[in-house]
């Protein structure tokens, strides 16, 4: 024992000291976690949240000021949408947006804004963030409300003199509003 220059007593003291140190460390780490005091991230400012919070809910929460008419929508659609969706929204080559009513239970369902899309306000959410495909996020609120008015008119959901804005859009009842059911799986016997 003594040949290593260390006594049992000293070893014991070092052992106890290490244990105390260890326990202190464990306590410090766990209390930091429990109190949620990881020093990471920073508070989001009100302006940041306002700028980032672009989603529009199914009930219209998040719709901005502005308005648009079917008549204005004719021009917006022709200029910015028709190249992918066709002159009347039925030709493609990309998603068909008009028509398809009463086809969902047929062998060849046509899923469009009119036949399938369940909530009018989320048209705003999608068009605002993702369209047109070659310049997403470039449309003004007026252009978006207008093109929505045109799409809803072409799908025979609103009259030709309809004006779309944050108040009127959530009032629009979409034909396939009740077309969705919760996941029933496992559903195959």
């Amino acid at each position: 024992m003594d040949e290593y220059g260390i006594s049992m007593r000293r070893l014991l003291l070092i052992g106890i000291g290490t244990c105390i140190l260890g326990l202190t460390c464990i306590f410090t780490v766990s209390s930091a976690e429990e109190n949620g005091t990881w020093q990471v991230g920073r508070a989001a400012t009100k302006d940041e949240i306002k700028a980032w919070n672009i989603d529009v809910s199914s009930t219209g929460e998040g719709l901005p000021a502005g308005q648009g008419t079917v008549k204005q929508g004719v021009q917006v659609f022709a200029a910015k949408c028709a190249m992918c969706h066709g002159p009347t929204g039925t030709e493609g080559p990309k998603d068909k947006l008009v028509g398809g009513r009463n086809t969902l239970a047929s062998p060849k369902p046509v899923r469009t804004v009119g036949s399938y899309w369940p909530y009018a306000p989320t048209l705003y959410d999608y068009i605002n963030r993702a369209m047109p495909f070659n310049a997403p996020g470039s449309l003004t609120p007026e252009e978006i409300y207008s093109v929505i008015a045109w799409l809803l008119f072409k799908n025979e959901i609103v009259p030709e003199d309809a004006v779309m804005d944050a108040k009127s859009l959530p009032q629009v009842q979409m034909p396939n509003r009740d077309g969705f059911i919760p996941d029933q799986r496992p559903d195959v016997p």
Binding site: E33, G36, W38, V40, G41, R42, A43, A44, E48, I49, W52, N53, I54, D55, S57, S58, L104, A105, P107, P109, R111, V113, Y116, W117, P118, Y119, T122, D125, Y126, R129, A130, F133, N134, A135, P136, G137, G179, F180, I181, P182, D183, Q184, R185, P186, D187, V188, P189
Partner: protein, 423 residues
């Protein structure tokens, strides 16, 4: 398919994308294709080999590659169809084990792969939280991390199975929209603690910073809170751009689309947000015209990868190999049939069998030159048995587009050619 196509340079693709973006060009960048003939010395023992290099590449003789694809019915490949590709499929027939090399992980994006500078990227968490906060990737890397293996499968994988006639497909064509990686990041629960999520928060909008601004509503169930990871790592390095660099959401077992890539925002609320992606798309249309919504879990599935479509086998002993997986936990059993489902035999499962992860199975089989129909079926820990195509179509019809998980049938002809059939 593409004649001389040999090698696709990721670096050039990215540079090209960035250049186009900088120019404000509307078109998406096309993959750059170049042919490079590998030259090996006559005797590698007589010449010194290559020096160390900073970032490895596979041997130049290995040319396995993803296959470009569009929607149902669109041709696959990198030829004339490339401008219309919006996904790429993993070459399952060429892979070993269960991990998908990051370079071969399938892709699905909704307006191209964004190039994001991680120094400028931010994740905001707000809504029903005590402390709305903004995080950098560095912030997230400082929090306790977690790693796990998990498959990610596009719910449109095997969508051709809904077609009335079977196509002349490889397993890459039919099943290539699933991949497995080791994912690393911060548990969602850790971040929810940091921001102080309110008790009433039951849904969370996850939003990407790609050109589609893809947004999905995530139900904040106990399982989701326990298992969801905000990832920055994939197979030991940073996420690949195609898989969401610098940050993505991982919801193990859930359909690919909700594992939002290029994640920039989480907003907590009390209702689903009913975005386009969970209403007009990614809903499963049934014969009666109604559609399943929030059908998020990927059901049990399996496929024989060798032998598989368009391969040629020789008489004698073979090892049937394949992959099985389920979004509902662990695979407990895989059975293989060589007679179109009349008789079944249990395959060996490669350890470790992990929950919500590809599982490799194998079974020796002697082929004597007869016609055969090879099938596999997966049974998971809930007792669920992968259904036949017939049983699946009987319930869901053929208009669902998503969540096809019927048993795959490969017909072996007398000459040893293998082809996709419905049996």
């Amino acid at each position: 398919m593409d004649g001389g196509l040999r090698h696709i340079s990721r670096r050039r693709f990215l540079v090209q994308s960035a250049t186009l973006t900088a120019l404000g060009t509307a078109a998406l960048a096309l993959p750059n294709v170049s042919a490079e003939e590998p030259k090996a010395p006559d005797n590698p023992m007589r010449v010194p080999g290559a020096l160390p290099r900073p970032y490895g590449e596979r041997a130049p003789f290995e040319q396995q590659m993803r296959l470009g694809g569009g929607g149902p019915g669109a041709p696959h490949g990198w030829g004339a169809n490339a401008p219309n590709n919006f996904n790429s499929l993993t070459p399952l027939q060429d892979l070993h084990g269960v991990i998908t090399p990051s370079s071969l992980h399938f892709e699905r994006h909704h307006n191209g792969v964004p190039l994001i500078d991680p120094a400028r990227h931010r994740l905001m968490i707000h809504g029903l939280v005590e402390r709305p906060m903004v995080f950098t990737r560095e912030d997230l890397e400082r929090l306790p991390d977690v790693s796990r293996l998990a498959f990610v499968e596009c719910s449109g994988n095997t969508w051709d199975g809904w077609r009335n006639e079977p196509g002349d497909f490889t397993v890459q064509d039919t099943h290539g929209l699933t991949s497995t990686s080791e994912w690393t990041g911060v548990k969602l629960s850790t971040l929810l603690d940091v921001v102080g999520a309110r008790r009433e928060a039951s849904w969370m909008l996850a939003e990407g910073s790609d050109a589609a601004g893809l947004d999905r509503s995530v139900p904040l169930t106990n399982d989701v809170i326990e298992e969801a990871i905000i990832c920055y790592g994939q197979n030991g390095e940073a996420l690949r751009p195609e898989q969401g660099y610098p940050l993505r959401l991982l919801l193990p077992g859930f359909e690919g689309n909700i594992n939002v890539k290029w994640l920039r925002r989480l907003k907590l609320g009390t209702e689903p947000f009913m975005t386009r992606w969970e209403t007009a798309k990614y809903t499963d249309l049934l014969p009666n015209g109604k559609a399943y919504q929030f059908s998020l879990v990927m059901d049990a599935k399996s496929v024989i990868t060798n032998p598989s479509g368009k391969q040629q086998i020789q008489p004698g002993l073979q090892e049937i190999r394949g992959l099985a997986w389920t979004g509902r936990g662990k695979v407990t059993k895989v059975e293989v049939s060589a007679d179109g489902g009349r008789t079944w035999q249990a395959a060996e499962l490669q350890d470790p069998v992990l929950a919500k992860c590809h599982t490799r199975f194998r079974l020796p089989w002697r082929w004597k030159g007869q016609e055969a129909i090879l099938q596999s079926r997966c049974i998971d820990e809930t007792g669920y048995v992968q259904p036949t195509r017939e049983a699946l179509v009987k319930v869901r019809g053929t208009n669902s587009t998503y969540h096809y998980n019927g048993i795959q049938s490969w017909k072996v002809e007398r000459d040893g050619r293998v082809r996709n059939i419905y049996a």
